[in-house]
């Protein structure tokens, strides 16, 4: 037997090791730079919007209608429109999304139909939002004759955030331990009783988180609303959902024309007059503030529920 002897001077090994260690440290620096650079952009973006729009960030801005005069224009009809659209979106996306997720997690047999549904949910998450706009234009606006209304806008955004709600709810439902279900089954509960009395109450945190994240996505969506024909100049408010006479609420607002925060901002951004850019910045600051706030609430809800439940 002859053993191969490789002799390497110890100095060169040491040099190699320290070079590789330096490389390690350099990469940590690069990684931190990219990470905090990306976050810094977010901070700069927000501060810049606030600075540019500071002249318009007043109470009047929230209580005035849009106007041809940049100084007098406000976002009253825009934020009211956005709130009503979110109402429709939440009312549709929440029950449908939770029901679909519960079906997929608790009921679905392992067969081709389940596979088809799952592939569709994954695919829909990747469909560009403007395609949803075209779908809504062809289906809701023209086939169902909803017109360019708050109802059509709310339904469109509900379809758009459905995959988000479904995925979040499935994760929450999956996190409920099997023992809980088996204990309930052992006492004679039916599948629905197990789901409604045990699984869903434990998943509320996750469902809420998914719902808030979904709505924060919907609140900033512009393209689908433009496609179905949102107007950008609306100097009136839709009929109030609450009325003073019986039955105390009305649904007339569903079929009214609308504008929304991102639409209003887009309209101002695309005007050459710099005075309108101030309005755009102010609207953007408010819109971004709302989005960040909603995401903050979602993170907090997730954190609190995760802490509260000890299996």
């Amino acid at each position: 037997m002859n053993a191969a002897v490789i002799s390497v001077p110890a100095d060169s090994i040491r040099a190699g090791v320290s070079r590789r260690k330096i490389l390690d440290r350099v990469f940590v620096m690069i990684g931190l730079c990219f990470l905090f650079g990306a976050l810094l952009i977010l901070v700069i973006l927000f501060l810049d919007l606030v600075r540019d729009g500071s002249a318009k960030l007043t109470w009047d801005f929230l209580t005035s209608f849009p106007s041809r005069n940049a100084g007098r224009a406000g976002i009253l009809s825009a934020w009211v429109g956005t709130s009503l659209i979110m109402l429709v979106t939440a009312a549709v996306a929440m029950p449908v999304g939770v029901a679909a997720a519960v079906y997929l997690e608790e009921y679905a047999p392992k067969n081709w139909m389940t596979a088809v549904i799952e592939i569709n949910v994954t695919n829909l998450a990747g469909v560009p939002s403007i395609i949803y706009g075209l779908l809504a234009l062809g289906l809701f606006v023209y086939q169902f004759n909803l017109g360019q209304s708050i109802a059509a806008a709310g339904l469109t955004l509900a379809l758009l955030i459905l995959p988000i709600v479904i995925v979040a709810t499935r994760e929450a439902v999956r996190a409920v331990p099997r023992e809980i279900r088996e204990a309930a089954y052992a006492l004679g509960a039916t599948r629905w009783e197990v789901t409604a009395h045990h699984v869903l109450p434990y998943s509320v945190g996750g469902i809420l988180t998914g719902m808030i994240i979904g709505l924060s996505r919907a609140i900033g969506e512009t393209a689908p609303l433009i496609t179905i024909g949102a107007l950008s100049f609306i100097a009136f408010l839709p009929e109030s959902p609450f009325s003073s006479e019986f039955p105390f609420f009305s649904f007339a607002w569903l079929s009214e024309a609308f504008t929304a925060m991102p639409i209003q901002m887009f309209n101002w951004v695309s005007r050459p007059d710099p005075a309108f850019q101030v309005n755009a910045a102010a609207a953007g600051a408010i819109l971004l503030g709302m989005t960040l706030l909603m995401n903050g609430i979602a993170i907090y809800v997730r954190y609190r529920y995760r802490k509260k439940i000890n299996w």
């Binding site: 590789r20 490389l23 390690d24 990469f27 940590v28 990684g31 990219f34 990470l35 990306a38 976050l39 952009i41 977010l42 700069i44 973006l45 810049d48 029950p95 449908v96 029901a99 679909a100 519960v102 079906y103 009921y107 549904i117 569709n120 695919n123 829909l124 990747g126 469909v127 560009p128 939002s129 403007i130 395609i131 949803y132 706009g133 234009l137 062809g138 023209y142 379809l159 995959p163 039916t190 599948r191 996505r217 900033g220 969506e221 512009t222 393209a223 433009i226 496609t227 991102p262 901002m265 887009f266 951004v269 850019q277 755009a280 910045a281 953007g284 819109l287 960040l292 995401n295 993170i299």
Partner: protein, 309 residues
Amino acid sequence: MSTAATISTFRPSPTALRLRKVRDRIIESGLLVAALVAVFTTVAIVVVLVYESIPFFKAVPIKDFLTDTMWTPLFAEARYGILPLVAGTLVTTMVALAVAIPAGTIIAIYLSEFAPFKLRETIKPCLELLGAVPTVVYGYFALMMVTPFLQKFMPDLPGFNMLSAGLVIGIMIIPYVASVSEDAMRAVPNYMREGSYAMGATRFQTATRVVVPGAISGIAAAYILGISRAVGETMVVAVAAGLQPNLTWNPTESAATITAFIVQVSLGDLPHDSIGYQSIFAAGLVLMLMTLVFNIAGFALTRKFREAY
């Protein structure tokens, strides 16, 4: 003395039991219908896009649509070549990827292999906020901040250009790329890292030669996800890249993308049965097919490079 325990049993009536089963079955079908909404949506998207673009393709031969180099459906002398819009879409996507792929990958490697646990758990939700910013706000950012900034170095840069739109889209999709690739890297089993450390490799060597190759299918999927986001992005390009279709591969020029064109037509007041109006559905169909091609390519790539542990 022992007392006999009385056990009282509660026996629901057979009708109540049957009713409970019937109720369960009704609820189950209700839930199934909700789950099928996803399938209906997909089918409806395809049907609407195809059905609404039939009149368009009756008037415009498919050969012209695919080979003509001018897209001017709103002019008196209309030309219907989709190429300029496709080129605009691809250029902004390329610029976006040039930002998002390096940044996203480096951040993912750092978070997965280097960052302390506490930092990772706090910073990830913050990073995801970058993807939550409304796209129209990003449009404002591109037009009012990035373009003036770039003009300091490139005085010839026009006010509307694909470069700044692409850069901003790149920033927007960093969290998607980073978070999906990080998940893939963290799924690489720890014994592979330990084997590498045992051979004397540093963390950086382990990351680049063991973890990244091991997670390559997931990383490819992350890139593909980024591409389809960039291709479908609308408001940033509509605000900052200009709305003039322009067949060019030069990112410093202004051009329209498929999505920007759809927005432009939707903002106008063309009658529903005009061919200019129907052209947005044809454009939407092309966009849908492009995202589909990328998704299938991603799926194929993932299958090809999958490493079995």
